[in-house]
Symmetry: C2
Subunit: 739 residues, 2 copies
């Protein structure tokens, strides 16, 4: 594999795509993420640094949001007095000495192998002198409190006078919302500057300290809300200078004195220096890729795209923090306000279980530490056990907004997901079980995982409704993955997954009794798992209503689904919008158009454990289900295509599987949905990894507890190679195409 | 190899890139080329159909140009009265019923395997009804007088009333210049329409006839300068209708009655029908690709790009016409006005010699038929023999403009290439010799080729200047491939190639005397090849001044070159402009910055026949030359990178070779130079093919007259497979990477 498939390169800067590339070129360390905005800024840019756990809820806002931290990127350069900017065009008459300068060349690459973002610009100042500016930046994976930047300035033509002003800017908002209190420390002296800011009202403090490292006298100044350090020098023609900027960061989540700690860390980093920081950083990246990289031979487009999606799984995931999790847009944009959804457990966690199990554990621990929020939610809604919030932040409380932002006509739309998308608790349980089966991490299961599994089972035990007339259990008012259909009764996805959840809980308890009786006793007592309650669970499992059409041999998404208007989705080919947009919201919800197929998601999760009525062949039902639901699904959710790719691959539907995989892998790169400016589609990234490993390669744990493959690669793929962890050991797989 | 590497797809329509894609998506048949403008037009579009040989020189213009023919593309559709257009955005308030309609989806692909351009648009009319429109078009490779279009309209939502108006538009100009006389025939009746137009003053007539083929009553009408045929119908929901439009075309270069012949051909095509026309067309394309396709395993980006460049070699090359040749911008744009340069013989002809030798022959015959123009030019300049024009059109006369278009300050710049770029005659001879060596086409050589070789040698015999003081022959006032340096004396490229040319002529004459004495006698008499003249040639060969620096072991581009300002080109990395643009024209011409290295071109053409002074190792001189000239070359010419790739591959400079190949292969696809709107860079296309086959694969005729390989593939390439013709037989090569 050559280096060229490790880079994403922007050959020309197009201001219209500025926000798209800011998102794509986000760097991160598992501690924070920083969008790929320019050091010198550009009109309309949206720089953002998002730090795990730093949420704030300002008065008047519906919900809390992850706070945009002070901007540590600024490096402003002037060349003979002309401020450097990526100016692309000038009047012909001004061509040789454009008054605001001119970029004569531009290239920017994200090196995914090392998480390094690099930009080279050839810039001619108004004076006519030409410089080359090379900017590099990385957020250290070796020391997550350190970020490093390097600027190399080369005098290409002439002897330009250069000034460089670099610093930290606390004048930042979340698209206008101000989270930082007016009480700030902003200081600068010599080659150092530092800031400390505090969210209001949540009271998180962030301290940042930066150093400008050069051979020149450096002047620290503060101006308004910005601290900076300035140097000036003149270059001889062809002379080159390297200027490094290092930034250290701590928050009150890490230490009691973030500013002082950041300052101390900065001095430590300054002694180590850019190059050694980078070497240590690369070493960590190498370890990441050893097990995260899927090497695909025979499809360079997918190869590069899969590295991109994997990169965006790795950079937001906390390495040393069990109390933060990854939001639906990672740390790469303000979309969904940094809230954590099921995207984490069902899309991001599985790739991490196999490739970086310690990171998967961190994410699962976030849920453990927030069990109180889930218990509060259950209690507030009149249920028992733990009912996790649909959207979660630092508090573990439900933080789904109840209302949308105002529509063009001024009205707001009621958002029901926080009320009704209750499958989140089962999604978390599913991830815990997957983690347990793949890692054999007994300590986690006994101390943390089992409690979540059992207490969320207790929620379902209290949540289900007994229909005496039918002698069956039902669940009303739910939203499944297909969010076009809200507050429906007896979602097959919800009912079947709740049934699976209860059975899993019973099995687990039995296993605990046999293998860890003390923990079984402790949990039985603490969670009040009385024999009566367990008997009830067994009754629910036996009598859960699973909507099924025997005649067609298919699962029914929910009773009444097929009575609605049938609109075959493929007829809208080629479309760049969802069918919901095309036909309108009102008609969509009264139709069989599906955002993401519940039944397909269920097949992805359960495979042949779907449970079908006696006498039916499960594979045939799966095919029937696919044939029924695929043509009804518009993939209005970015979560959808990868799951469909996975299931199609399992069903040997090679064309559909590849089409869906290609779609999923390019959601961010091609900005298919036009909203990448708001952040990476994390679930799509995680879904792609799963589609390839679990779907195309068919990696699974077999009946004997051994890893096994069942590959169905696209016809033009030659080979897929990857390493995964299984029960603490690294295992290597090479899947050759048998087609 | 999968189909996906045969397509170039535009996923989103970006009006800013409209002209770029019009050029990329040109279709052609070797008879005409038609840019990829939309059937229904789009604001600012630049549709053009260019037919070989139809030049016109209007009063006031500096030179003749290839004339933009009547537009045969128009198909205008209205849906419930809303004119179909690719409208991408509407106000939010209008979203459901936009007054001008809205494109809900768009996709356009050029299928390079079959030369089919296809576009699908999902369109919602103001009425709310939605249709899918699928447009296909091809210029028949089986019958070059026929073009076919197919429109499939599908009622996706609602029962829309459709009107389709299709026709031929004679209201066309060359960017404002009017070439068609006011005297036109424009007629329409029922499902047929036709036009006949005549260039003024050149007097070429073009006749075009079109049929609209559907099940509906069709009304022919003429409106102004356009003839069209209209149908109306209403579709039921989900109903689909196929409407075909066929167009036939003849010119007065083909027949005496173009309009009538076109009408007759149209009826013939209408009987055959779209599908059978397409099948026959595909069959011809299959034959083309058998020998034109280079199959690269291990580099999908280059694979697709090379198919693209090869496609654009194939579509403009005349199949049945010896009196037209391919211009520098092919038939894909108005750039260089359709004039024929050395690009044809040194860049396009070699790939055709190996892959479609009959097409190479057509292009060489164009020069034979225009020998009179070359003789006129020689005579007018006081020389003997044949001196081919730098820019050639239908007349064979010199048609290089002497002056540029007006500059911003109103002045014009003198263009010297028509006066001084005299190597064109040798370039043609080089192509003839290559054709002869690879095809063994004795008939061509004896009847046509030899006469060109010998008479252009006669030109050089009269052109060289004897310097008595130095006892050597010199050539003054030349321009080599490096056009930054004009009117220089003793260009090493010109002098060495003229020397090679004279030697080649002598060798050929000797061979003719031995193998075809009657032809030798005929040519000796006709061209006045007296013993005295031949003795003079020998003297010139022996005493030609080849500027060489013995100390450095390098060829000197021209004496004085190294006394000019030295500007290392790599220092301007990364640049998206030529160094000439960056530092200005005045400074460039006084510097060592090279547009395209003469010495590298010479190494491409002559390889180890470079001729170096006794005692020097030719390989070492080649390396020295490369090291000298490569860092001075800014590739301001699109011809440059491929030639550098070729030579670098021969010198085993793998990184430079690949970098140059990648650059060359993407000049059009990525629009590196920002001028693809004016047409395809034909020479770059032909250069890419040569760089791979002659450079990377090292295919050559060895000392025994056998084909041999000397491969140096980029490290990440696995294998290259191709078929070529050698002396009438098809030969298959598989080059595996030995790295």
């Amino acid at each position: 594999m050559t280096k060229r498939l490790w880079d994403i390169t922007e050959l020309y800067f197009d201001p219209k795509r500025q926000h798209h590339y800011e998102t794509l070129f986000t760097i991160g360390s598992g501690y924070l993420g920083t969008r790929g905005a320019f050091e010198e800024s550009y009109p309309g840019d949206t720089p953002a640094t998002l730090i795990h756990g730093i949420y704030n809820h300002i008065p008047g806002a519906l919900v809390p949001e992850l706070v945009n931290a002070p901007n540590w990127l600024p490096i402003n350069v002037t060349v003979d007095g002309t401020p450097f900017q990526v100016i692309l065009n000038v009047d012909k008459a001004d061509f040789m000495t454009p008054p605001n300068g001119l970029a004569l060349g531009y290239s920017r690459s994200l090196h995914m192998d090392t998480g390094l973002l690099q930009r080279e610009v050839l810039f001619r100042a108004a004076s006519g002198n030409i410089v080359r500016l090379t900017f590099s930046r990385f957020a250290s994976l070796h020391d997550q409190h350190v970020m490093a930047q390097r600027l190399t300035v080369t005098a290409v033509d002439g002897s330009p006078a250069i000034t460089i002003s670099a610093g930290i800017d606390t004048h930042v908002t979340n698209a206008g919302a101000r989270h930082w209190s007016a009480d700030r420390q902003i200081k600068a002296s010599g080659s150092r500057c530092a800031v400390q800011v505090t969210t209001e009202p949540s009271g998180y403090t962030v301290g940042m300290a930066a150093a400008l490292i050069s051979d020149y006298p450096t002047h620290g100044i503060t101006e308004g809300l910005r601290a900076s350090m300035t140097i000036s020098f003149t270059l001889q023609q062809e002379e080159s200078r390297i200027i490094d900027k290092l930034t250290a960061i701590y928050t009150s989540r890490d230490v009691i004195n973030p500013l002082e700690t950041a300052e101390a860390k900065l001095e430590e980093a300054a002694v180590i220096g850019y190059q050694m920081l980078f070497d240590a950083h690369c070493h960590e990246w190498e370890k990441y890729w050893t097990t995260a990289d899927i090497r695909i031979d025979g499809d360079e487009e997918i190869q590069r795209a899969v590295r991109f999606t994997t990169y965006h799984i790795l950079i937001p995931t906390p390495r040393y923090d069990e109390r933060a999790s990854v939001g639906a847009k990672t740390l790469s944009g303000l979309g969904y306000k940094g809230h954590v959804f099921w995207d984490t457990e069902l899309f991001l966690v599985p790739p991490l279980i196999l490739s970086q199990p310690h990171l998967a554990r961190n994410l699962l621990m976030y849920r453990y530490h927030n069990l109180h929020g889930a218990r509060n939610k259950a209690k507030a809604n009149g249920y028992q056990g733990a009912m996790f919030p649909w959207e979660s932040t630092d508090t573990g409380e439900e933080t789904t907004p109840q209302w949308s932002d105002p529509q063009p006509d001024g009205t707001r739309i009621r958002i029901w997901t926080g009320d009704s998308e209750q499958h989140i608790s089962t999604d978390i349980t599913y991830a815990i079980l997957k983690y347990w089966r793949w890692t054999n991490d007994r300590e986690f299961l006994l101390k943390h995982g089992a409690e979540i599994v059992l207490d969320t089972a207790a929620f379902w035990g209290s949540r289900v409704e007994y229909n005496a007339e039918q002698n069956r259990y039902e669940v009303s008012q739910q939203i499944g993955p297909d969010e076009y259909h809200e507050n429906i009764d007896n979602s097959v996805f919800v009912n079947r997954m709740a049934q699976w959840h209860l059975q899993t809980a019973l099995d687990l308890l039995e296993w605990l009794r046999a293998n860890a009786p003390a923990d079984a006793d402790r949990l039985t007592t603490a969670l009040d798992l009385t024999p009566k309650r367990l008997t009830h669970w067994r009754d629910v499992i036996a009598k859960m209503y699973i909507p099924f059409d025997r005649e067609q041999g298919i699962h029914i998404q929910f009773p009444g689904f097929f009575e609605m208007e049938y609109i075959p989705v493929p007829k809208y080919h080629p479309r760049t919008r969802s069918v919901q947009e095309i036909i309108g919201h009102a008609r969509t919800i009264q139709s069989q158009v599906i955002k993401q197929a519940d039944v397909v998601m269920m097949m992805a999760l359960l495979g042949e454990d779907l449970s079908v009525p006696a006498g039916l062949d499960v594979r045939q039902v799966m095919i029937n289900n696919w044939n029924t639901y695929f043509p009804r699904t518009d993939h209005g959710s970015s979560l959808s295509p990868a799951m469909h790719a996975w299931v199609a691959a399992r069903l040997h539907l090679n064309d559909e599987a590849y089409e869906m995989l290609h779609h999923a892998a390019h959601i961010d790169l091609q900005d298919n949905k036009g909203n990448v400016r708001d952040g990476i589609h994390a679930a799509a990234c995680g879904g792609v990894w799963q589609a390839i490993i679990f779907g195309f390669c068919g990696l699974h744990i077999d009946a004997n507890g051994e890893l096994a493959l069942d590959p169905h690669l696209p016809a033009h793929w030659r080979e897929v190679n990857f390493n995964v962890y299984y029960r603490g050991e690294q295992r290597t797989f090479s899947v050759k195409n048998s087609v």
